[in-house]
Subunit: 331 residues, 4 copies
């Protein structure tokens, strides 16, 4: 139901992250630009007000450029709101003292005001994160993953308070909280890009039937724990990219590997089953900030170079390139 | 190390197949066009000569438009040479009576001369398939999968002779032969797009941690049996496409799900490890014949509409669009 | 639904095999003794008649000492009729020329007349194996596994005839035929008695949560392929026994590991579900012929030393020690 | 590396628990009897002193009847010290105020003084659990599982203090702490004693190859998480026992299923690999208190009926029946 990861640093130093939005179709989403001096106002009445310092490009929902579920700022910090179902996510009650901030505000707030993970940690410590319904009919439970070129953190809403925890593996999916997933990785050590060697038993030679047996036991189902394990495993094994171009393409190949074909999984919503799909993927170059996305209905991937964006003026929204096809070729 | 599949027929009747080439980089490959009246000559001296009736578009190797590892003809028949390592593939000895045909000739031969699976069965029965080295340094073992709008077959080279077998599931990967894989599917029944319901044990409610647990037990490794099972499982579950556009896009999403990130698997070649990657994917519309491909180094997918191709003149080759990047967007 | 295996030879040269009868409760079974000069008559009218040369101890069904589903002869040859459902087993039609032998006769025939696997191969080549119903209400499909101190074979009833195949791994379960299982083992190479070493990722040390992770990916379900894989894997790893006593005890520990707790699996019989259980286990010392068994309802294991058995007189049956409990202890 | 479980209550109301000691061979262990008025003295200097109220039978280590790793009292309360490696277990520092109690004292303390889980909770709240080395060369990390006829709890030593947590599933193995395992069970819902129904694909009928496919995806490796999942799964499925005899035998069959054949797993101790084995199993009838055990080197199971034990006089030890064989039978 969503994932994010950060690739190992490329040979040329480039750091690329990515994210998928795995959800039923239908949440209104647009490409959003928040200006560098964006004046933010949190959704809760009497909540946080802030003035941004950094321009942001990302995915705004329900017609709001500042309700970001995904985004990247000009300093190479990215934020990703991922679903956290199952009763784990527990928002605070509003306190009305100017510190209230809704979960839907969080990404715009930290990306607008923070240039590093340390600044994110400090910013989150100053606010009281409450839950609001952006228009879905319920208050969506989330956790917020943040990457920069140096590391990754998870902002989690525990029953006993908001926690900002280190994410040493740079991977996240959904429920439960990160510490459970990190422990679970201990069950999947010792994988290899190579198949195990042949064995001779009773004169019979048993050889791997092909490449890839070194990943035996890695699960292919789509539960959050299975996707976390599979993603972590692949990140351990993938070849280091040489440069920004290769790193961005590698990130897209990893997104491919987690693409959910429509129908493969379904969930009950409002009493009937709907397919959960990979609605979009984003690839984020944190070093030379570029924000790329690909929609389920269009095989093309579009990229915004943040250095080319006009981060003045009002916040703005652009329709996503949701439909498209293959490129015609003459032979 | 390669796969092919055929989607369930779309609501509008469109049938789409696809294939991935999973291999180390480096086999010289070009987009090939064989004219409708192509005069074919088999690689073995004194082998089969044939005159084609149908135009073909596909992937030619080692500079030869008629050495196809993948292709589609104007009648909606597709052929796919997939690797078959492990000592399973056993070619015939040449007999020199005009029936010898090399494995590298097979796809051009059947696609040029056959408009249906029955014609393929008959054509294969008339030839003696031997092995040749197209320039790889060894004789590549293969099996050849053929789809048309009505079904799928596998052409396999057993120690006791060539066999053309029905492929009721429309899926293939690599070793061993198809019957083993079909039996193996019996170990993976009962999957579901839905997660299992919650259970209460000792007052504790245990709920799925997210969607997708209905595929528990499906393997994620890259061995041929595991890919066969995973592909078959997805094909059982995917939503039926409405039309040709949706079906082609769905096929590409399935290819995505099997994309091998470089480094995830490696094989020993000539004494050192090289990554095995998804070098290219093809998507083949069998109803309104269109041949699409996507290269590992270019996220764009290119399509040739066979109705627009000039199938007269000599066979010809075109360089593949091997490199590319994201499409720039202004916001 | 049954298994058999042969342990690696002990340091002192002892060879021990074992078998479990996994079935719904209720098939009438008794401990059987066949005299060394037993005059055998096959179940089919006008079938094989034979005079035995070797005494046999085993499990007779339906009140017949010569309808053995399991047995051991004085020469250290053992035979085990295991279920082979799923339509694989195809018996011959009776021919009425004195060569017909029912599947229920097979074990008594080979154990009474053969002192080696070669003799078994020759004996089976001389008969025409048909199917009969010993009283179950249907003709039970089986295959027959034979061990001696030097090797193991499987007697299988294929649609195109009876095949006696080498069993280099000395393991058998149920459907499908042996060659499928042997190929399937190739998917489970590279297991280890040791857990994989710890890995450090992003400063986080990931260590195995305990011993035994080297067997990750081995299935625990009860299908015939899963039990074959798990049994083969354990046999590769177990410590070599020092002597006959240790080998017999090790065989029983392996049987333990495959004991099916009542209720864990059920099958539909006559329209309602019945538990399939491990009705009994047998442990067979092939070197100093001893036949031991343990019933589901009695934790004690009983052993018959074949050197102490009077193999003269008529065939005879003894009730199995089906019920029992723990041994009382005073402290 | 150890497990414990409690069976569903039998039809006649009997509650039976069990435990296995999975460890390298060699820890000196004897059958221990603690009198009903045992005067306990904790291992730490200036620690807890207590006078027991209930007689106890169990497993004492290093020649001490009051250092129990397993035990049952006359009130039907059982306690089981299970290993908790991996740095999870964190004992308190001694405080010297009369509340210090070593982990090796814990079972004797709670079994001698408590007749219910509530009393255990209260007793544990009054003490400060420190770690001591009973003679192993290091301070063994443990957690202590307690069952009575009404429920189960786990006593865990967390970095921030001792926690007594409910164990609604009545299952325990080893690291990590219980809450992680309970969450992990959510990944293994929907198992069934029945195989999934046959499916028809492209005219091909795919049927389960035998019974037991309803447990597909359950792991067979020996890590603590895998054993916890497998044990929980079996407990959900097993048939309810009718009475005490059946329940005790069922518990032993479940122990069988987790018996570790010597060599299947090994661990590094003092620089060389040693097999980890199921050194002994215990079966504990909590309703009519009976304590049964079975050693790795002896297939017989011995039982002590607590109603027959003289619980006066000093604590005492009895050698375990460590060696034995099959019972000879004459036919």
């Amino acid at each position: 139901m969503c994932m994010t990861f950060k690739l190992p640093t490329a040979v040329d130093g480039t750091v690329v992250a990515a994210r998928s939005m795995e959800f039923p179709m239908g949440m209104p989403t647009q490409l959003a630009v928040l200006p560098a001096d964006f004046a933010g106002t949190a959704a809760p009445a009497g909540g946080v007000s802030w003035t941004a310092r950094y321009g942001v490009v990302g995915m705004g929902i329900f017609g709001r450029a500042d309700w970001l579920v995904d985004g990247l700022n000009t300093e190479g910090v990215s934020a990703h709101a991922l679903y956290m179902p199952g009763g784990y996510c527990t928002y605070r009650d509003p306190v009305g003292d100017g510190t209230d901030l809704a979960q839907v505000d969080l990404a715009a707030f930290v990306l607008g005001t923070c240039a590093s993970l340390d600044e994110v940690r400090a910013a989150v410590a100053r606010v009281n994160v409450v839950g609001t319904d952006p228009g879905m009919g319920f208050v969506p439970p989330v956790h917020c993953l943040v990457h920069d070129r140096t590391g990754s953190i998870a902002i989690e809403f525990h029953p006993d308070g908001t926690r900002v925890v280190d994410n040493p593996v740079g991977v996240a999916t959904n429920a439960p909280f990160l510490d459970w997933h990190l422990t679970n990785l201990c069950n999947f050590l010792g994988v290899s890009a190579e198949s195990p060697p042949a064995e001779v038993v009773g004169g019979l030679t048993l050889s791997a039937l092909g490449q890839g047996e070194g990943l035996r036991g890695i699960p292919a189902d789509y539960t959050p724990p299975a996707r976390f394990v599979r993603l972590f495993t692949m990140l351990r094994l993938v070849s280091q990219a040489q440069d920004a171009h290769e790193a961005e393409q590698l990130a897209l190949h990893l997104c491919n590997a987690f693409d959910i074909p429509p129908g493969a999984i379904e969930e009950s919503m409002g009493g009937h089953l709907v397919p959960e799909v990979t609605v979009w993927d984003s690839v984020l170059n944190l070093s030379t900030p570029r924000y790329a996305y690909r929609m389920i209905g269009n095989p093309e991937t579009y990229v915004v170079d943040l250095s080319s964006v006009d981060f003045t003026g009002p916040a703005r929204l652009q329709e996503l390139r949701s439909t498209g096809g293959f490129t015609s070729l003459t032979v």
